[in-house]
């Protein structure tokens, strides 16, 4: 079957097995096509309408979180119980909530805690989980045994139960503790991804080649091995951003997350759940924003995985 695979490479525009004084020979037809995996992936992503729409949506939500004043001039805390549960109108597109506060500006300001928690927790698990997975995969032996057992223990805790117990016990429920609990419960997944990727790439020929030249461990890890783990980690990080946004809302809804008077989508949902039959829009607006955000992250992750995996092309 040698010919099948090699015909494949020839067909793909990459050079066929051969040799010559210069690459200006026909074999270099693929030169323009692929400067690198990432450039190639970017080009493919920009042509993918699903990714572009999801990306724009995230940009909108991101700008809400970063610059709420750009989106509303109302103060979400200027409330007047006289205006409790007034339906949406032209000036107040989302209407008023139970306390008579402007619901639209509440929704805008509510983007901030969701995004901050998701970003901080994701950053944390990528760095810590990445390092742990790297150490476990590269050194193996007892290092791997300790880290892997720790991962197993954390992963054996049911996520929701673990989070509820933790937050109830420490009794402080703010952005920091929420981030911490998400981080603690989710890092092993990243560590597992990294560990697998490191194990499969530490025996690659070019790693041995660098070792034979005399390269030390740090160079082998960061120059030759870790780059192989970046793509799967990126994909996972994108998807996990979405699930952290959802997790924040879930925990808040269950009463162990952020507490009023803080503003977040989770609080909006949790406070107004009882009015769903009379004034469904009170629930539909925050839920819509939340679902859109989570979905966008997941779709972006999917598109990213397809773009980074040459097999899907």
């Amino acid at each position: 079957m040698s010919d099948l695979s090699s015909a494949g490479t020839a067909v793909g525009g990459a050079p066929v097995g051969g040799d010559g004084p210069t690459t200006d020979a026909p074999g270099s037809g693929g030169q323009e096509r692929s400067a690198s995996l990432w450039a190639d992936a970017r080009r493919q992503l920009m042509r993918d309408p699903v990714f572009v729409i999801a990306f724009l949506y995230i940009l909108v939500v991101g700008s809400m979180a970063a610059f709420p004043k750009l989106w509303t001039s109302q103060d979400p805390r200027a409330c007047n119980t006289d205006r409790s549960r007034i339906s949406p109108s032209w000036e107040h597109p989302f209407g008023f909530d139970i306390l008579g506060c402007d619901y639209y500006s509440h929704a805008i300001y509510g983007a901030w805690p969701s995004m901050v928690i998701a970003i901080m927790a994701t950053g944390g698990i990528v760095v810590f989980g990445g390092v742990m997975g790297m150490l476990a995969g590269y050194y193996g032996g007892w290092v791997d045994a300790i880290i892997s057992r720790a991962m197993d223990i954390v992963l054996s805790l049911p996520f929701l139960l673990g989070a509820i117990v933790f937050l109830t016990v420490i009794k402080r429920q703010n952005i920091w503790t929420l981030t911490l609990v998400l981080f603690l419960l989710a890092w092993p997944t990243v560590a597992r991804i990294t560990r697998g990727s490191v194990i499969s790439s530490k025996d690659l020929d070019y790693v041995h080649a660098a070792k034979a030249v005399g390269a030390r461990n740090s160079r082998l890890m960061f120059r030759h091995i870790l780059p192989n783990a970046v793509a799967p980690m990126m994909v996972y990080a994108t998807i996990v951003l979405g699930s952290f946004v959802a997790a924040e809302a879930t925990l808040t809804f269950l009463g162990v997350g952020l507490q009023p008077p803080a503003q977040s989508w989770g609080i909006m949902i949790s406070v107004h759940q009882v009015y769903f039959l009379e004034d469904p829009w009170l629930l539909l607006f925050p839920c819509g924003l939340l679902v859109g955000t989570v979905l966008s992250f997941i779709l972006m992750g999917d598109a990213l995985r397809d773009a980074l995996d040459p097999k899907f092309r």
Binding site: M1, S2, D3, L4, S6, A7, T9, A10, V11, G12, G13, P15, V16, G17, G18, D19, G20, P21, A25, P26, G27, G29, G30, R33, R313
Partner: protein, 345 residues
């Protein structure tokens, strides 16, 4: 038992028992990719007689394996498409048969063995089960009979302790033994044509010698036509009767084995033969073919070999590519200057 199958195959319209077991005429295969159309096989013709060994010789990417896959009807499609030509089994064009008929021919009359036996065998079933399945499905045998036949077959390919080994899984066999199992599977239904795609490339020389000896013996016993696809000039010299040399999707030279090794008529064949290390050239530079083979998406106009050829003149750079010239009644070469190539030995 094989008679009832032949009865079924006799029903094929146009089947002529006197015609050649396999004849390929002007076969065209292209791969449609993002980078354009690759002409992987570009007008390949050859035939093989019963009991004869036809070697298809070429380097990676020349289209030799794609040709085999097209004959077997196992081309990855898309991206690969057969766009022209005929593949005749005893006068019947397989390309025009409905898929169900074709499958019957594939299993019973034309079989194939691959380079990588491990990936060609199913890892989750025992070797005996996979062999037996052939008999149960195509011959309607009972489980017991099928198993007995499987043991006979493993014996036939000289696997020691066949009775026990029939219950082993593919990974429990060594590389050479696995290749024997695959040969047993290919021969299970008594095919008339066996296509061997680099059957020994992954094996060590001593094992290669065993497998080639086994193939030769089985071929002799059954008067089977063998199409041997390889890049190894040594193996070809040992077993082939006639040779088709392929380059960039075309057959560029076709001749009997003695003629081709004694006086190649195409510069590519000549270059290949000269680049083998020889004792009398020890300490000297090997004569290498300069440059590299073209990408199949970008085959140069005229003769595909012209950028690497030391005989090339202006005529070689212009379309159409040189046709196959009749060098002698029994051989052809696709070179404008075959006389010079052959003569200046």
């Amino acid at each position: 038992m094989s008679t009832d199958v032949n009865v079924k195959l006799d029903a094929l319209p146009g089947l002529d028992p006197k015609a050649l077991p396999l004849q390929v005429k002007n076969l065209q295969v292209e791969f449609r990719t993002r980078n354009g159309i690759a002409h992987a096989v570009n007008g390949v013709s050859f035939d093989v007689r019963a009991g004869e060994t036809r070697a298809i010789l070429g380097e990676s990417g020349c289209g030799k394996s794609v040709t085999a896959q097209a004959i077997m009807g196992i081309l990855d499609s898309p991206p690969g498409f057969v766009t022209g030509g005929e593949i005749l089994y005893r006068g019947v064009d397989l390309l025009k048969l409905p898929e169900s008929e074709r499958r019957k021919v594939r299993a019973n009359r034309i079989a194939m063995i691959f380079q990588d036996a491990l990936s060609a065998l199913n890892p989750v079933f025992t070797v005996g089960f996979q062999l037996g399945e052939l008999f149960r499905k195509h011959r309607g045998m009972s489980r017991q009979d099928a198993k007995a036949r499987s043991v006979e077959l493993l014996d036939l390919v000289k696997i020691p302790a066949a009775k026990q080994r029939v219950n082993d899984y593919p990974h429990q066999f060594s590389g050479g033994m696995r290749q024997r199992v695959m040969i047993a599977m290919a021969l299970a239904l008594d095919p008339e044509v066996l296509i061997a795609d680099e059957p020994t490339t992954a094996l060590d020389v001593t094992v290669q010698a065993q497998i080639m000896a086994l193939l030769a013996e089985l071929q002799r016993e059954r008067n089977m036509a063998l199409v041997l696809i390889t890049h190894d000039m040594g193996v070809v010299a040992d077993v082939a009767d006639r040779i088709s040399v392929m380059y960039a999707g075309r057959v560029i030279e076709e001749a009997g084995v003695h003629e081709i090794y004694a006086s190649p008529a195409h510069p590519y064949t000549k270059g290949l033969l000269e680049s083998i290390p020889r004792l009398d050239l020890k300490g000297q530079e090997l004569s290498a073919i300069k440059g590299l083979p073209p990408a199949l998406t970008n085959i140069p106009p005229g003769c595909a070999f012209n950028p690497r050829c030391r005989y090339a003149q202006d005529v070689c750079k212009q379309d159409p590519a040189p046709a196959l010239f009749q060098v002698s009644p029994s051989r052809t070469a696709a070179c404008h200057f075959w006389k010079e190539v052959k003569g200046d030995e």
